[in-house]
């Protein structure tokens, strides 16, 4: 079985976000990590590899620095890494990104493609389903469990108040939730091997069956009109009183606002 996992390198928003003096996001000051949903997707692939035997290839699109997440994936146990990087691919929205990745994936053999549900920098959850459309294969989003059954994949697909057990013929694309599993750690030896291994680097010319008009900033239907830091509602009152006074204060406000 051949599994391809798409991963993205993202700034770690968990430890707080840092801004430049001009108010733009200071990506350099934030740790770059493998997107958590993608990491769960990778772990799912590695478990399928452990269980059924599979070749796991990891693909990322990004700046040359994004090769770090491929090394990390290989240090966890992935077999191959492919970096898709090219100046003309920059500034892509989800349409152009999914076109790019589909162009890369057409060069590969796959039974199963796994992506994360969404990336923590954009939170769009679009690229996975869009890739599946471009490749004309079924998609199952929001996977909380993935099993293989012959030539099919059986997935528990999460909804707000339920889950569906879905069966799809491979090749199929599945998007993984971070809750899917607890990703394994890299091993020290895996890290050494990952840095001794070669990473395949593909540029625009290596993408198959993709028009220039669908790539990069120029190929992106959506355009940014305005971006800014979130303007928060200002703080109201803050009091530091003893217990009884605190209670009276809250009750007073609730009465004033006709809540009680």
């Amino acid at each position: 079985m051949k599994i391809v996992v798409c991963v993205k390198q993202v700034p770690d928003t968990k430890g707080g976000v840092k801004f430049n003096p001009d108010g733009t996001l200071d990506r350099g000051a934030m740790l770059a990590i493998m997107n958590p949903d993608d990491k769960a997707g990778l772990e799912a692939a590695l478990r399928l590899k452990d269980q059924y035997g599979a070749e796991v290839t990891v693909v990322t699109m990004g700046l040359p620095k994004a090769e770090e997440v491929l090394r990390e994936a290989m240090a966890m146990g992935a077999d191959k890494g492919i970096l898709v990087t090219d100046r003309v691919l920059g500034g892509a929205d989800t349409w152009a990104t999914s076109q790019t990745l589909a162009g890369a994936l057409r060069n590969l053999e796959y039974d199963l493609i796994i992506t994360g549900r969404q990336a923590i920098d954009g939170d769009t959850a679009q690229v996975g389903p869009q890739i599946s459309e471009h490749l004309n294969i079924p998609v199952i989003s929001y996977a909380q469990d993935i099993k293989i059954d012959g030539d099919s994949v059986i997935v528990e697909r999460q909804y707000d108040d339920r889950y569906h057990v879905l069966k799809a013929k491979m090749p199929c694309l599945v998007t993984a939730l971070a809750e899917l599993n607890e990703p394994r750690y890299m091993t020290p030896g895996g890290i050494f091997d990952a840095y001794d291994a070669d990473i395949t680097v593909w540029g625009r010319a290596d993408l198959k069956d993709v028009e220039d008009s669908n790539l990069g900033l120029k190929g992106s239907p959506t355009q940014i009109a305005k971006a800014s830091d979130k303007v928060r509602k200002g703080a109201g009152e803050k009091v530091n009183l003893d217990v009884t006074e605190s209670v009276d204060y809250i009750v007073g406000k609730l009465k004033e606002k006709h809540v009680i």
Partner: protein, 348 residues
């Protein structure tokens, strides 16, 4: 693509088990506002099996037209037949705007449809306006009017971006549930109902539903609650949530929580408020022992009144609270609950 051919505001009227989801009416409400700005109509697209009866409700909440795609293949949500239904409606009726709820269904359907018809899709919008693009005139660049300006948070709620889709139609967005207001119900108001069926032939993209497992939950959806009593890690233990439950009962509210509480296994995920949980905007939001991580604030800061109780006076929750009380929740809550009970009894 001739952009001039695309007219009208369409919204996807999500239903589950043949019951309209709250987001369907919220989108009709928002769609009506946008349609008014554009001088056009709002059309709800109702997809399912045996769902035609829901069209009346959509009409009462403001839909001018309802396009019903009714087919046995559409009984439970599956990506492919639904994507086919919606993409076919778009190709047939050519709307200039198409809105979908940013739900577990809409966030799967939206991207598949946008990829099929080749247009842009902006995810998880919290604000939608009609305006100019570019927003301010740029010399040498044509300023387009009557564009859909889609505003959304990114980077875990740390930044906001406004997105336009000037060269493709429809302008598509998924909209976060709980953010838009539904219009007041006008009993008896009728929408024009149009039946449309593009035909459904199962192929390799149709997945098989082997089983549907519903979570058993008798808890009120926190997104519908008027008063939320929300607890964070500072509550200290699952047992201590009793204090919050007592307060919620006294004041007629519902208990919710922060991510830390869900991560600790104290409360189930469907009670979680925040970026990775639910967006709520109750009349009153009590933030108790919640420090106020930015991801949490993103899910509750639109609440009308925010009351925070926290022993750490530098907690970020105080930056958004209307009324902040620095103090020990273990001491304040029992007294507060008692006094509220008294006040409610006096009023009754």
């Amino acid at each position: 693509m001739n952009i001039q051919d695309y007219k009208g505001v369409f919204v996807f009227a999500q239903q589950v088990d043949n019951v309209l989801s709250g987001i369907a009416l919220e989108l009709v409400g928002k769609g009506k506002d946008l349609a008014k700005d554009l001088g056009t109509e709002v059309t709800a697209v109702l997809v399912g099996s045996g769902v035609k009866g829901l069209a009346d409700e959509l009409g009462e909440y403001g839909a001018d037209k309802v396009i019903v795609v009714d087919d046995p293949e559409l009984k439970d949500y599956r990506t492919e037949p639904y994507a086919h239904a919606v993409a076919s409606v778009i190709n047939e009726y050519k709307p200039e705007i198409f809105l979908i709820g940013a739900t577990a269904i809409g966030r799967d359907l939206g991207p598949r449809v946008s990829a099929r018809i080749h247009t842009g899709l902006t995810a998880d919008c919290t604000q939608l306006d009609i305006g100019d693009f570019p927003i301010n005139p740029i010399p040498g660049k044509e300023q387009l009017h009557n564009q859909l300006l889609m505003t959304r948070p990114a980077f875990g709620g740390n930044t906001i971006a406004t997105i336009a889709c000037p060269d493709f139609r429809p302008q598509m967005a998924t909209v976060r549930p709980g953010v838009m207001q539904k219009a007041p119900k006008e009993a008896g108001r009728k929408a024009e109902v149009i039946d449309y069926n593009p035909g459904f032939t199962p192929d390799h993209k149709y997945v098989e539903i082997m089983e549907i497992v519903k979570a058993v939950s008798d808890v009120e959806d926190i997104m519908d609650a008027k008063i939320l009593v929300s607890g964070g890690r500072g509550v200290g233990s699952p047992e201590n949530f009793k204090l919050l439950e007592d307060l919620a009962e006294a004041i007629g509210g519902t208990v919710s929580c922060s991510r830390a509480v869900v991560d600790a296994g104290w409360k189930p995920k469907d009670l979680q408020v925040g970026q990775t949980g639910k967006t709520v905007r109750p009349n009153v939001y009590f933030a108790i022992g919640i420090s106020g991580a930015i991801q949490h604030l993103a899910g509750m800061e639109e609440s009308d009144i925010i009351i925070a109780i926290n022993k750490d006076e530098s907690a970020p929750i105080f930056d958004v609270a209307d009324y902040g009380v620095v103090g020990d929740l273990n001491k304040i809550l029992p007294q507060l609950t008692a006094q509220i009970k008294e006040a409610m009894a006096a009023k009754a």
